[in-house]
Symmetry: D4
Subunit: 169 residues, 8 copies
Amino acid sequence: MTQPPVAVIMGSDSDLPVMQKALDTLADFGVEYSVDVMSAHRTPAVVSAFADGARGNGRKVVIAGAGGAAHLAGVVAANTTLPVIGVPVDSSPLGGVDALYATVQMPPGVPVATVGVNAAQNAALLAVQILAVGDEQLAAKLAQFKQKQAIKVQKKNEALHEKLEGKAR
Amino acid sequence: MTQPPVAVIMGSDSDLPVMQKALDTLADFGVEYSVDVMSAHRTPAVVSAFADGARGNGRKVVIAGAGGAAHLAGVVAANTTLPVIGVPVDSSPLGGVDALYATVQMPPGVPVATVGVNAAQNAALLAVQILAVGDEQLAAKLAQFKQKQAIKVQKKNEALHEKLEGKAR
Amino acid sequence: MTQPPVAVIMGSDSDLPVMQKALDTLADFGVEYSVDVMSAHRTPAVVSAFADGARGNGRKVVIAGAGGAAHLAGVVAANTTLPVIGVPVDSSPLGGVDALYATVQMPPGVPVATVGVNAAQNAALLAVQILAVGDEQLAAKLAQFKQKQAIKVQKKNEALHEKLEGKAR
Amino acid sequence: MTQPPVAVIMGSDSDLPVMQKALDTLADFGVEYSVDVMSAHRTPAVVSAFADGARGNGRKVVIAGAGGAAHLAGVVAANTTLPVIGVPVDSSPLGGVDALYATVQMPPGVPVATVGVNAAQNAALLAVQILAVGDEQLAAKLAQFKQKQAIKVQKKNEALHEKLEGKAR
Amino acid sequence: MTQPPVAVIMGSDSDLPVMQKALDTLADFGVEYSVDVMSAHRTPAVVSAFADGARGNGRKVVIAGAGGAAHLAGVVAANTTLPVIGVPVDSSPLGGVDALYATVQMPPGVPVATVGVNAAQNAALLAVQILAVGDEQLAAKLAQFKQKQAIKVQKKNEALHEKLEGKAR
Amino acid sequence: MTQPPVAVIMGSDSDLPVMQKALDTLADFGVEYSVDVMSAHRTPAVVSAFADGARGNGRKVVIAGAGGAAHLAGVVAANTTLPVIGVPVDSSPLGGVDALYATVQMPPGVPVATVGVNAAQNAALLAVQILAVGDEQLAAKLAQFKQKQAIKVQKKNEALHEKLEGKAR
Amino acid sequence: MTQPPVAVIMGSDSDLPVMQKALDTLADFGVEYSVDVMSAHRTPAVVSAFADGARGNGRKVVIAGAGGAAHLAGVVAANTTLPVIGVPVDSSPLGGVDALYATVQMPPGVPVATVGVNAAQNAALLAVQILAVGDEQLAAKLAQFKQKQAIKVQKKNEALHEKLEGKAR
Amino acid sequence: MTQPPVAVIMGSDSDLPVMQKALDTLADFGVEYSVDVMSAHRTPAVVSAFADGARGNGRKVVIAGAGGAAHLAGVVAANTTLPVIGVPVDSSPLGGVDALYATVQMPPGVPVATVGVNAAQNAALLAVQILAVGDEQLAAKLAQFKQKQAIKVQKKNEALHEKLEGKAR
């Protein structure tokens, strides 16, 4: 059976509040996804099996969120040739720099596409962009999203003007 | 006229020694690419025009390398819905942390797929992985690359054993 | 039509609480300003158009506040020869270091006059100082401000003495 | 007697190799400048006297370069209402982060316009931009500089293409 | 008139909650002190005059607390040959690292005796230790303090044992 | 067949110059060890198999050295209950901080005993200390090592005295 | 009289909330331990005496937690050949990086097995792993713990699925 | 027998190139000193004995230089009530930040007067300043040193002017 094209995994269920934004964004684009808690350190066999089988199961992209010595994205990348997107999660007193370094500084030969600390929405958008390379409809949705985004900024600008003028009166 | 699927751009020709590894890797995979020096700060119109037209010109992925307050990848990402891969280049006394933060910490809505500091080879591999989502032949090459990589490590291990035994005798 | 000499822009309306201090300070000095939300990443065309036209529209100085991979000031600086003042805004788990590096570490040829993290008041004062280079009245106001500032510190010193003596009794 | 509009000062003559780029750039723009070694810590009276008299002596902008606990720009800013541009110099094992923080993180009321670590050329350009606010000729030179800069990048791009094609043949 | 041997100064009255521990500790040792708010950046003349006259006025040690680009201790050290103790105050989004670097990384020839971030109590103890070099009675008080401190730790240890045993029952 | 009690592994043969000190120290203590290059990212199956079988094969301690996003020690720790000692190797422009964070900041439940950046000798000593918990002879050797170490420092002190006196004459 | 095999010490009773997790984990494994507050800086003689006598008193492993310039683990390691596990405690505005560096960067010859910032549970597990090198029963308990841990993650995964499906309906 | 008032100690003879500047400066001021290599980690008993006896042996100030997890100054401070000056030495891949944090972030009650990374000359000057609190002759020498220092900067300024004018001709 073919599985959803995007797999969202996280090292702990405590990462869900951060990763939820990825799920919402994928849903907004109508991209099917699965969600799983699996840990590179506590369930390594689950992670290996997941990664080994990912391409064969119809996966296209993996999004992996983890904090601290965040190895999840790297371990998945070690076991698949699919693009792996890493979300460093801020979950220690070091403010997410530990997770960022542990996710982005991968050795030659095994890339992880890293987004900003806690930037799960961007991870989802990157996944959509990757899928859209071969999917014109999705590409069109991304173009619409970009336009809406620009309009939203412009509306915020107008709201700001109204607010400041209101003060000035 | 359709342009190569991968565009490699860099903020300065002084980034070429780092970015060369991306070019070599793309060539190894038989993926066509273009290379250009263009600067988010010194030729912003060139960068905007490039990014605006990228999808229409047949581009699939952009790889952007820059150092310092590295804005190149971000500015491209602002003007296209293609996946943009950022390579933070170590080119200031701050050791590349400035380029890393300026590349990876993008705002919600505009992702840059960031690889490690100076990790141009990984940027190329990530581009290949993205293209391989819709290209079985390329996916097969990636699988071969992964195998060769593993074999290379094992050969290095054997060489190490010979070397250390040689010493021991 | 000539626009106000100082343009205050910010990447997101969530930057307003920080940037408000710039607006208040400009108002205190009787310097006219405009305020706009525009995003280097979400409305790049708006930012380019703004920057391209700034000098022609009568602008003298631009103040740009942004957080994370803060590109706003740099993108404006890429498109104008006016002095651009950058305010790194603390808006991510990295405590504003990301915004500081992304604002200050500009490449040769394209300076951004960077102030401290969240230091919007100083950005406004710097703008006033720049305008005062050719405006004796404004220079006089700055001298008064400096004196008042010194007096304020001395009054705080006196208040401290009273408070501590009060305790001692 | 009126002194040159731009004063370039540095905390130690060991900063000259870094600061020389500021001098060269000012000369390129035909902007007159003075150069002095003066230390916030070793000749504080010289620095205070310089700063106190700067505006009265016809100064328009001060550029101050210093390393370590770089106080020079801040001490000048404390004693003048002219715009003060700070160049953090990389001169300790901490890689210039110490000088950057000590220059940029000024308290409310006393701004220093900070450029990147060792970025003396940008300090000079910023000084020219400030002078150009009231000097159309200088503004025109800046516009020319910006164009030449863009052309230089495009020439480097062409040189890169020739070089890479040369290899390919 | 001779002034108290220890001068405690701070850059802003907002530093008082941190610096209060210095005052309390000096009082505990029966060491006379003065307290003043003076700013290296907002009242530089006050600071210079204070530092210039400090030795002549009978001062023995200066304790200076400041945050951000903390120049206060350094500026005092530039103007006196008395020992100057610097307290970096955590007062910006950078967590006190800015104040630490700006206080400790002084250039050759002008030392500041730096204590930890917010460590005002230690600044006071260091001042007492310096005075005690020539004051046997004060040295004896320091020895007692050290003993009491050790006893306090041992009592905390006993309290911990009781608490944990209480739980165990 | 029982394998040596200490397994030294490293992510790349380029780590050997750093890790050699571990090998030499183990040899000095007469502790048998094996050495292997295996990569958490390039030969993940080799690493998993090694770790899974380690205890059964008679291993007592694992020493793992790696740089960048150093996952090797963590991946081994995920697959064994033996004590795993991690050596962060300085192999990127970030100066080893990336490897340190990626090694030490392990999640609850999966410890890695981390030593300093490049501190392979200490990793070996820690392994010997662990083995010595149940081996009185090895404990005696450690005591001797500690004594010799102290004597070496004292001899260096004497040599320093001779050298400085030599200068003084 | 023989003392418990694991000694848990901490520099201040304010470290107890962090270190409690070590106590709980040791209790869960049925490993006997002692707990003491002792300070490398305030009760150095107590620490030296403790460390000197530790092996002779039947100790096997020491766990030491401390914050700031965390010297406790290092001072113990200087005075014993037992394995010493260091827990850097986040107790200053620097977010635990100070404690991490002061614990892990030990000089050649004197290792401290360092765990993550505040990672007291992992310190306890490491102690159990060290004891288990010569204790098959304890090794079996560790294997069970690892299994339970994996099951816990899988249960969290199931709970996540239920929760998300619940939302979906 | 009374020992010299200033004791200079260092953790390793490899610190001598850095610490030599302290010796030279003390000699310049005619202040007697001793020099010793002693290690908080390798010869802890030597360090404790030294510190315990320091005041009784006529010591007035201790200067301690060490790198990495630099505990030397802190361990001395734990065992004496004399002022202890710490010199963080840059001796690891972390650029001296490790030594700085491990020296300056001492707990309440046990101060170390910390100078900049490798700033041994400043440590000596601070020692002289402390001795000069009760020694008018030494205070006069410090005043002369400060004057000479200022003159040296002014001579460097003149030399710079000559050099730049020479170029200009």
